[in-house]
Symmetry: C2
Subunit: 404 residues, 2 copies
């Protein structure tokens, strides 16, 4: 047994999260799934929660299920807030998609700074973040400034500061870049944003469940994120929205749906939002998806974000070590930060044949990764169900393909 | 056996939809469920569809499920459009909640008439319709005119016309009133709306799956509606949005999410909406809810909306006949149109003790109805699973309670 094999064996034997693999439903093909940052795996708890909600609640309680379903959005928000987001109670709800929540958060922030005319975002941020901003800018006569970031490293204050002035209302920034995995320093971004009196909206889609988050401590104003990546809520699992408590009573949320109305079933004549974070709810929440999320989130909470992050860092370090030994010599380039403190849960390899490699990885080796234009392979171990051996096998399969 | 009992027996024996009751999962209490206009029952097909999507797709296909999940929103839109809405292809998608879709539809209509300053709605319409309009009016400096309708009868052109002039941009109107069940004439409302150059947004939440709808023929401009009432999609089932084909290329939808972007996975720099109805999509759709809806919708389509409506009319006629004989003498008032051509799928009885009767109906008789402020009991047979005997038993249980 080689020294490397022994090292990987030892990592798996000493893995305090190893038992969590059994909390997930194995797939029939035995896929080495390195795409949990696109769609997390199905857990037994998520499956049980949704089946129970269908059979015991929808099927048997019928309409009476709403006596408790109305609480799901805020219950899940509290769990996410306290366990994963570093948010004191009353600041997080779960509803709608990340895109709709971005829209609500950005316009809510704008309602607090109505005289400012500029929005700022990272040109390399996820498309929906930029598109939502572009639409808001177009319909409100605002300017959208896009930071020409380096993408493969966190957005530094020096890159960021030139785009800021006292006409900036809102800065939107992902904590982890969806392509490179670069991990932005939210505390620093919030500090610089606040230095010109603007508000920060953070997108946590690629960090929640992979990286410890401290929204309150970092002084973030608004945040949104999806729950189908590292939180494993399932395809189309609803998104969350965080709004700092001190801002809630002053802001105006743009979509005045009945789920945010005070005395909802009084069917009143005029809209009056509920006090607190509930004002960000809009329409009837997707109860079946919320049930799946509740089950899935419990698994993440049982593991604890600190242990998840510890394993994640060792796994991405291992992937980079293997990259240096086996992929770099074959013309791959690392497109992620080397410093683990600047990296989220995934690493990205560039190669001109990335698209065909991604496809062959699955067809020839049952390794499932994510291809991203133009030449990137995202390689995402998910600590709750990915072993160190799978990280090794994934890189070695890619190396074999490149050697053909 | 009394003449009435014989009549009801015969109705059940001759019911061409009787076999559809077996398509639904019976509840353990054997509830007489007359609240299908709040939340439709669980069907075996909906249950099977969601379990299969969880196990076969999410669990086994993992991320590859998106190769077909991306089509669900438009596939379901086409089925709804052709089978239930009277819409030619390319005009309906399923996504988001009814409230979010109302917001998108109203602002899209406004984008076509940017110089007009007035929105019109029915003061007795469902709260979220009025609230969404109120929010849009507030943030865009528009006037919201509320029609002082009679509520218990359809909104007539004479009631409606005084609120219209050439400053009106958008009229929002439910086809069936959520409290009285009054059925508005969409063709006539569209005609009057268009006579001042305004656009009509119809809310079909209380009519879809209960009443045949002819959006194209009636010349409706936009429509939205939920799928968890008579379509039985389950709690939080996503809503649909219809936009007339000829309007699509000119309008601007307000929430520019990546699911409506052309070349979605090119991750382009600028937002360009897809051609057609897909521009109304926003974020990641709730795949598990869409699966449940797909199963549920199949049952409705198998029955056919014409047969559903025929049975529905006979059931509400029977309910009113029983009301006249047994409830009116005890101080109940009918708060729904007597003419079946002016009535949707439910009837409403008023009584000062409506709240306590609703509660006792369930606890004492296992009859589940819906209470609505201030003094209304909504009584909604759902033709796919409600028998004529259940309509009879429901009214008689209410009569017994009132006689105590």
């Amino acid at each position: 047994m080689s020294e490397l094999s022994q090292q990987i064996d030892r990592l798996d034997q000493e893995d305090v999260l190893a038992e969590f693999c059994a909390r997930f439903v194995p797939d029939v093909l035995g896929v080495n799934y390195l795409d949990g940052n696109s769609l997390g795996r199905l857990s037994h708890d998520a499956r049980a929660a949704i089946v129970s909600t269908i059979d015991d609640e929808w099927g048997n309680e019928l309409i009476r299920g709403w006596e408790h379903w109305t609480e799901l959005s805020s219950q899940l928000g509290e769990t996410l807030g306290s366990q994963l987001l570093g948010a004191a109670p009353g600041q997080v709800v779960v509803s709608d998609s990340t895109s709709v929540n971005l829209y609500k958060a950005i316009l809510s922030a704008l309602s607090l700074l109505p005289d400012r005319k500029v929005l700022v975002a990272d040109i390399n941020d996820f498309p929906t973040d930029r598109f939502i901003l572009e639409g808001i800018a177009a319909s409100n006569g605002l300017e959208l400034r896009l930071i020409a970031s380096s993408m493969n490293e966190p957005v530094g204050p020096d890159e960021f500061a030139p785009y800021l002035d006292d006409d900036v209302a809102v800065v939107v920034m992902s904590q982890v870049n969806y392509r490179s995995g670069a991990l932005n320093d939210l505390a620093r971004l919030a500090y610089v944003t606040h230095s010109v009196g603007a508000l920060l909206v953070a997108d946590l889609s690629h960090s929640v469940g992979a990286v410890p988050i401290a929204l309150d401590a970092d002084d973030v104003d608004f945040a949104v994120g999806c729950t189908y990546k590292y939180v494993n809520g399932g395809p189309g699992s609803p998104a969350f929205l965080y709004a700092r408590e001190r801002l809630q009573s002053e802001l105006t949320q743009p979509i005045w749906g009945w789920f945010s109305a005070a005395d909802q079933f009084q069917m009143g004549l005029r809209y009056e939002p509920v006090p607190g974070i509930g004002r960000f709810l809009v329409g009837t929440p997707p109860v079946l998806q919320l049930a799946a999320l509740k089950g899935a989130l419990g698994v993440v909470c049982d593991a604890g974000i600190e242990r998840i992050r510890q394993k994640s860092v060792i796994q991405t370090e291992l992937a980079i070590e293997l990259f240096d030994a086996h992929l770099a010599p074959q013309g791959f380039r690392l497109a992620s930060p080397r410093d683990p403190a600047k990296r989220g849960g995934h690493v990205t390899f560039e190669h001109s044949e990335a698209l065909s490699f991604s496809s062959s990885l699955f067809s020839d080796h049952r390794v499932l990764v994510d291809y991203r234009v133009p030449n990137r392979i995202r390689f995402a171990p998910s600590p709750l169900y990915t072993s160190f051996a799978q990280v090794y096998e994934g890189v070695m399969a890619l190396s074999k393909l490149a050697a053909r």
